[in-house]
């Protein structure tokens, strides 16, 4: 079955420390992977997608097909990165399959 796993419900790191939000997927085809972010009292919005291979707000994510992972990384966390992060992938039927989300807290 198609599934996205985000193993951490909560991740707390100090400002300036590296951040890695984990995402694993189960899908036999070529997935289209996304990271979405939801800041407090704001709408869910796209952070980045694996196709574009760009860095947004200092975040990057590399698709590792061997490990079926798409972990989100940032070398130096900032307080404004505190938010809810969701990993999702697009399967074959135009829907997105969502992970349960990771709440990231950046401590000052």
């Amino acid at each position: 079955a198609q599934r996205v796993t985000q193993p951490e419900k909560l991740l707390s790191v100090f400002k300036g420390a590296p951040v890695e939000l984990k995402c694993n997927y189960s899908y036999s085809g070529s997935p289209e992977l996304f990271w979405y972010v939801q800041y407090s009292r704001q709408r869910l919005q796209l952070l980045l997608r694996h196709i574009s291979r760009e860095s947004i707000k200092g975040f990057t994510a590399d698709l590792n097909k061997g490990e079926t992972s798409f972990h989100l990384k940032k070398p130096f966390a900032q307080e404004e990165d505190s938010a809810m992060y969701y990993c999702a992938f697009g399967g074959s039927n135009y829907q997105l399959i969502w992970g349960a989300g990771t709440k990231l807290i950046i401590k000052p």
Binding site: Q6, K9, E32, F34, Q42, R43, L44, Q45, L46, R49, I51, Y86, A88, G90, Y94, Q95, L96, W98, G99, A100, G101
Partner: protein, 114 residues
């Protein structure tokens, strides 16, 4: 810039009431979605619509129905609200013609059923 709007940010209803949640998008997107967002459960798909007058059940359709009479509007209906439907409801849209799976979200409606 895609705009997806939802009729209410906060809604309080009583058990047994019929509840309508409205969603409007202004980018001529073919596909629209309704999700529930609950802590620890992520986003769960309730219903989606490929196009006008088309609808498909998602993962948790029980207790809900939808209506898509116009392309820009997708309504979620709780026929008889129950306390376990207290949740954040998110609407999203997607362009079928653009060919990728990116979805654009509304601000959400936080529904409380008493």
């Amino acid at each position: 810039d895609v705009k997806v709007t939802q009729s209410s940010r906060y809604l309080v209803k009583r058990t047994g009431e019929k509840v309508f949640l409205e969603c409007v998008q202004d980018m001529d997107h073919e596909n629209m979605f309704w999700y529930r967002q609950d802590p620890g459960l992520g986003l769960r798909l309730i219903y989606f619509s490929y196009d006008v007058k088309m609808k498909e059940k998602g993962d948790i359709p029980e207790g809900y129905s939808v209506s898509r009479e116009k392309k820009e509007r997708f309504s979620l209906i709780l026929e008889s609200a129950s306390t376990n439907q207290t949740s954040m409801y998110l609407c999203a849209s997607r362009s079928f013609t653009r060919g990728d799976n990116e979805q654009f979200f509304g601000p959400g409606t936080r529904l409380t059923v008493l």
